[in-house]
Amino acid sequence: MALLEVNNLEVSFGLRSGGVKALRDINFKLDRGERIGVVGESGAGKSVLGFSILNLISNPGSITGGEILFEGKNLSKLSASELRSVRGNRISMIFQDPMMTLNPVLTIGEQMVECLLAHRKIRKEDARNIALQKLKQVYIPSPETRLDQYPHELSGGMRQRIVIAIGLLMDPDIIIADEPTTALDVTIQAEIMELMLELCERNNVALILITHDLGVVSQVTQRTIVMYAGRIIEQGPTKEIINDAQHPYTQGLMNALPQMAVPGARLNQIRGAMPALQRIPTGCAFSPRCDYTTETCRHTLPGFTESGNCLVACHMVAEMKREAAQVASLAQEVKG
């Protein structure tokens, strides 16, 4: 049994009229110790997915369909107190901006001890010792002093390490990291990602890494989920997705990487913008921006096609493959 299994998840935002669907037909599995990347442009629903796993979608949003099974228990059906025993304890979450995620009026130590005491019946001194050990694990220099410091006394990278240490406090099974390095500068980003990778491997923690940095995804994760307009459009092993993207959108994302552009020329981009959630076209949501669009794409929602080890939601996968093969054979002929 997978550690976490998300089946047909649907999340809606809005009022009585039913509102807009921020997530539709989300299906994926996460095994123990597996690292999974969720990518997509802004507004694709990546963060909502992260929040909905912990059932933290706040009004006017709610989970309107599907199930999130954590060790077989449906998280969206748990009572408030059962949910609290999962949050922070079994599944913890790391947010984007370390400047914002620590309470400015409490010391680091107080915040860490508080988290421990919320889940375990232990003495304060023991909690402090555990906190100290976790700070050492994330390589915070002089951790004893840090415990009595306030967040504003620390740098951004240091704070993110502390946030990670708080995430690790209860030895969770899953860490959901919502763009953990976006607010940091590039050198610190690399350090933090390395640290997270190391910690996940050492403690056998599963990681859901939400990001739009494909470089980070390729370094850290084993599998990748590509989201677009609230749906998963492609998922599969990270290597295959990076090297041989099947969906035109994923291909577009790959092409948009600066290193793919011809030096001196304009950077590649996917033309157009993601549709607003209220105006998602019938059929494939990506069809207005896609180079391969046909009539079928405009009218019918594509199901998942297996292609290699990947699942791709595109009508044109076979078509594109045939084309690629043709190009390849042509190239061979030319050579010959």
């Binding site: 009004n59 609290r84 304890n89 400015p104 508080e114 919320a118 402090r128 010792n129 050990q133 009595d148």
Partner: protein
Amino acid sequence: MSDQTQILETAPAAPGRWHEFKNSHLFHSFTVDRVAQLSFGIFMLYVLLALFAPFLAPFDPYDIAQIDIMNSEIPPSWEEEGEADFWLGTDAQGRDMWSTILYGTRVSLLIGLCAVALQATLGICIGLCAGYFGGRVDSILMRFADVQLSFSTMMVAIVVLAVFQAAFGTELYQQLAMFMLIMVIGIAEWPQYARTIRASVLAEKKKEYIDAARVIGLRSPRIMFRHILPNTLSPILVISTVQVANAIISEASLSFLGLGMPVSEPSLGSLIAGGFEYIFSGSWWITVIPGAVLISLVLVMNLLGDWLRDVLNPKLYKG
């Protein structure tokens, strides 16, 4: 385990609170602000006088045996007919004004502080709930506050106190006067707190650290009181100073109207009221001196509140 205890021992103690306070922005701006220093000095003087009234007062104004009606309306000692025993003169009952004012300040401050403590407790709880839970809870609590605010404090207080006096008789009323005043002033003004706190809570609730606290799996009351409340403390501090002054004034007004402290246990307000009848017969000191005390007390508290508001406002922070 031995490894762990060793870690604990090497952890140094937090730097001293006093040291921290001395380096703070609050203390620094206090050292450069003359008005704040003066106000604080006068306020502390009043607090000390009130606190040590039984030791400082030459007479006990609550003790009928010490009061001699023959001593009534003696002017302050610097006046021609003054007596050295009563340096601020005596009132119409022959009580020493100095002692009475000391005890009166004590009563006024006590009522002010207790009423504000009650206001703050009610207001903070209600404001936190309204802001944090939002939705229907918020609507109900805030409409309730609106209704309460639409009656003026004085009107509510007068009605409640007058009805109580009429229903249970003056004697019982006089015994419970202080308690009743605290309750009435405390309950009448909680919406001030509730509104301010609700506004700050709404601002704080959106911040990511509250999400983070929820992700950790903390209970709502814990998030409300430990994570949100400390972040809303500065407006609370500022309104508190102003509200204490307001409460003292409310009490004085009620006493002046005869609904406050009884004559046997006078507050500053009832002293002013008691002396008011004699002002035209030349005995100005019975009203004017407690009046001056009341005004300066309220003034320094308002000045302190102003100063605190400026210091705690990060937008006015000049480093």
